[in-house]
């Protein structure tokens, strides 16, 4: 069963096509590692899947509405002048969570920020801010998670927290699409892999053995020469 799919999506910025007929089918319960060089269109594709941007041509199909999607982009997406708890309660309310206060408290515990729940986000260290961002993305137990280079510049504690949350999410049937340069961390969790090259998906399939042992294999086999 399809969780989310992009069907021959084109995205123009002015006259420049960032996506040129990108097609991707993501089945429920899969964890897709979206690879590609900078400028390949990973962020553009994820933003379109997250309803932040509209495709110029082509279609997006998703099995859930906006309340079932969790998005973690480049920015952490929390307010510096609100406390960790206030932030999560706010986003809980926006995402339609049944009991925002309870969910917020649980999420903070889960990412190890329980003790600083009333601290303002601006007072947090970088690693703590990242964990708060992760808490926000997973707060409403989304069925589809869209993560744009989530491992970039995380400290080790944040990486551990994120990987643990991702594993739990997959275990409860969520679907994950994750763009990344950190191929190793992503490959551990990935069930499927897709390679985006110049706005097109040039490879999409299950994660194979070669990919795990040699992360650059995919680029060499399907991508353009460096």
């Amino acid at each position: 069963m399809l969780a989310v799919a992009a069907d021959r999506v084109w995205k123009y910025f002015g006259d420049y096509p960032a996506l040129r007929g990108a097609s991707l089918e993501v089945h429920k319960g899969a964890c897709v590692a979206l690879l590609g060089r900078n400028g390949a269109g990973k962020t553009t594709l994820l933003r379109i899947l997250a309803n932040l941007s509209r495709p110029t041509k082509g279609e997006i199909r998703a099995s859930v509405g906006k309340s079932g999607i969790g998005y973690l982009g480049h920015g952490i997406g929390v307010y510096d002048d609100l406390s960790a708890t206030e932030n999560l309660i706010l986003f809980g309310e926006l995402m339609g969570v049944a009991d925002p206060k309870k969910s917020a408290a649980e999420a903070l515990e889960r990412v190890g920020l329980g003790r600083v729940k009333d601290g303002l986000a601006r007072e947090f260290s970088r690693g703590m801010r990242q964990r708060l961002a992760v808490a926000r993305a997973f707060l409403h137990k989304p069925e589809i998670l869209l993560l744009d280079e989530p491992f970039t510049s995380l400290d080790d504690r944040a990486i551990a927290v994120l990987q643990s949350l991702l594993k739990d999410a997959l275990a409860s049937g969520a679907t994950i699409v994750m763009s990344t340069h950190q191929i190793r961390e992503a490959m551990e969790l990935a069930t499927d892999v897709a390679l985006l090259e110049r706005g097109k998906v040039v490879f999409a399939g299950p994660r194979a053995g070669e990919m795990l042992s040699d992360p650059t294999w995919l680029y060499r086999t399907y991508g353009e020469p460096a």
């Binding site: 123009y12 910025f13 002015g14 006259d15 420049y16 400028g39 390949a40 110029t56 110049r198």
Partner: protein, 225 residues
Amino acid sequence: MREKATYALGILGAIVMIWNLHHIFTQMAPESAQGMAGWILFIHVPADFMGDILYTVALVTSILFLVKKDFTYDSISVACIEVGTMFILVNLVTGSIWGKNQWGIWWTWDLRLTTQLMKFLLYLGYLVVRPAIAEATQRATMSAFIAIFAYADVPLVMMAIRLPNVRTQHPSPVIETGGINDVAVPFVVGIIAQLLMALALMLVRLHQENTRREIDSLRRELHAL
């Protein structure tokens, strides 16, 4: 082909305008032309008309862009607004000169002049903000939004300056004429001349806008390589 059309329209417009001025100075009775300074009215009034027409076209193409997302509409919008604002500026300047000649003052805050200045200011915002938006789709979308807001303001301005104690009436030009036909011809011909020139200018601007977008996208493609 496009270049030839542009030159043809521009030259034709210039010829018509020169013919019109010649007609005004040689054929018309001096009273009809408000004395020798009155000829400027035959540029001043058509310019207002052209400005309004172009702003209205820009409104329509702005709405069309938002609905259809076709950049042709955006190019037409910006060309219309730039050329239209130029015509309003011509209208303001010629009106000021005529006013100085007739009543001895360069400016007065009456209804008409105030309205025209307002139109200029509203679309000046459009012209100032548009180049500051780097990305083409965003630029076109925001421009369309601004153009629609600006157009909606014009009737509100016209109502507001008629509120008590705000502005005085524009002294209506009293045109002593030999007959309505006498004055109508130069006005209509003046409009035609300006229309031709407007079209020429717009073709230039349209081409420039399309080229710019192409360059931007090529530049971005180059960076991605």
